[in-house]
């Protein structure tokens, strides 16, 4: 299946999805409330059958006041990739977990929670992963500050 076909199948599943240009792999932007149902049909649709979540990460767009959640999916059956991304507001960073669809998402969402502070509803065990349990703040946010960090000299 070519990239255009893939995007058109995605559009037929979710009408509000916006294909993105100038990406290395076929990619689409979806609204956050469509996330769980859309992801489940991405896995279960026989034309797509994305059975593997390669990467889940988040981008902090400080100027636009939003987080962008990025999911890179792969199909071991059809051998094609797709990037799905969604935006959530920065002051209310909540999204529904996809860990019931791909179990690996449990770890990847924990990592994003640990460093970016995105809260996933429906995640079975959302707690710190790399940092200490008593850590305050989320260090990969662009506006993160603490007393330990050393600023660049003038």
């Amino acid at each position: 299946m070519t990239g255009e076909d893939l995007v058109s199948v995605i559009m037929s599943i979710e009408a509000r999805a916006k294909p993105r240009e100038k990406c290395a792999m076929p990619s689409a932007m979806i609204p956050v409330d469509a996330l769980p149902g859309f992801m489940r049909s991405m896995r279960d649709d026989p034309r797509l059958s994305f059975d593997m979540l390669c990467t889940h990460t988040a981008v902090d767009w400080l100027g636009e006041n939003r987080f962008e959640l990025v999911y890179v999916l792969y199909s071991t059956k059809h051998r094609h990739y797709v990037t799905v991304s969604t935006s959530i507001p920065r002051d209310k960073p909540e999204a529904s977990s996809v860990s019931s669809i791909w179990r690996i998402a449990e770890w990847q969402e924990r990592e994003v929670y640990d460093l970016m502070g995105v809260l996933y509803s429906g995640h079975p065990d959302l707690r710190r992963m790399f940092l200490e349990d008593d850590w305050v703040g989320f260090p990969l946010r662009k506006d993160y500050k603490d007393t330990f960090m050393l600023g660049l000299p003038e």
């Binding site: 790399f130 940092l131 200490e132 260090p139 993160y144 603490d146 330990f148 960090m149 050393l150 600023g151 660049l152 000299p153």
Partner: protein
């Protein structure tokens, strides 16, 4: 170490013997956290550079059996208590070499990092610093040599824990690997041969001592 000419006796101080033994049987703890470990612990230990020539090839996975802690790589906040524990678990006398920019000052992660400790010396006392990012195995061998010199001239059994100040072991500019090798070879030869020729006799006749 002084040798009595013509006889089978060797006159030295207990300190001298102990320090000589310490310096030539440094057992490093396998502690690599970043790219420095590839150069310093793996390449330096492999056959081309061959750490075994200096008695330091017995890398131990347990701090109880090691007496040289080579901090090879970045130390992050979460690792700091564990590094301290490893250091405390090592038996005295123990020595620490910090290799690479990260272990010396935090290196590329010095500024704007929420996690990197700015230098291993904030956690444990360091004896020798080996600069480089990462240092080549020759640089590490030079650092090891510096530590050996430090040990031989340093700690006394009468005053334990009294040591020289930490030193920065920078390779002199323009020094080549061959020169390091020949210097190492010369030191090894000097340490392992008993010189019964004129120098000592002349010293005795002149009424002076080598020390």
């Amino acid at each position: 170490m002084d040798h009595v000419p013509g006889g089978s006796f060797c006159v030295t101080s207990v300190d001298g013997i102990i320090n000589w033994a310490h310096a030539n049987s440094l057992w490093p703890l396998t502690f690599g956290t970043a790219c420095c470990a590839i150069e310093v612990m793996m390449a330096a230990g492999a056959s081309r550079h061959d750490l075994a020539r200096f008695g330091a090839e017995v890398a131990r996975p347990s701090p109880r059996q090691a007496d040289l802690l080579v901090v090879a790589g970045t130390v992050v906040k979460r690792l700091a208590p564990r590094l301290r524990t490893l250091y405390e678990q090592m038996a005295e006398p123990r020595y620490v070499i910090a290799t690479g920019s990260c272990a010396i000052s935090g290196g590329p992660f010095m500024y704007n990092s929420y996690s990197t400790v700015r230098g291993a010396d904030q956690i444990i006392p360091v004896d020798v610093y080996v600069p480089g990012c990462p240092p080549r195995p020759e640089a590490f061998l030079y650092g090891l040599l510096t530590l050996q010199k430090l040990i031989k001239e340093g700690e006394s059994i009468r005053r334990p824990y009294v040591r020289r100040k930490p030193v920065l072991s920078v390779l002199p500019a323009g020094m080549t690997a061959d020169q390091i090798r020949s210097e190492l070879a010369a030191l090894l030869t000097r340490d392992s041969t008993v010189d019964l020729s004129g120098e000592y006799v002349q010293n005795v006749q002149a009424g002076g001592s080598k020390q």
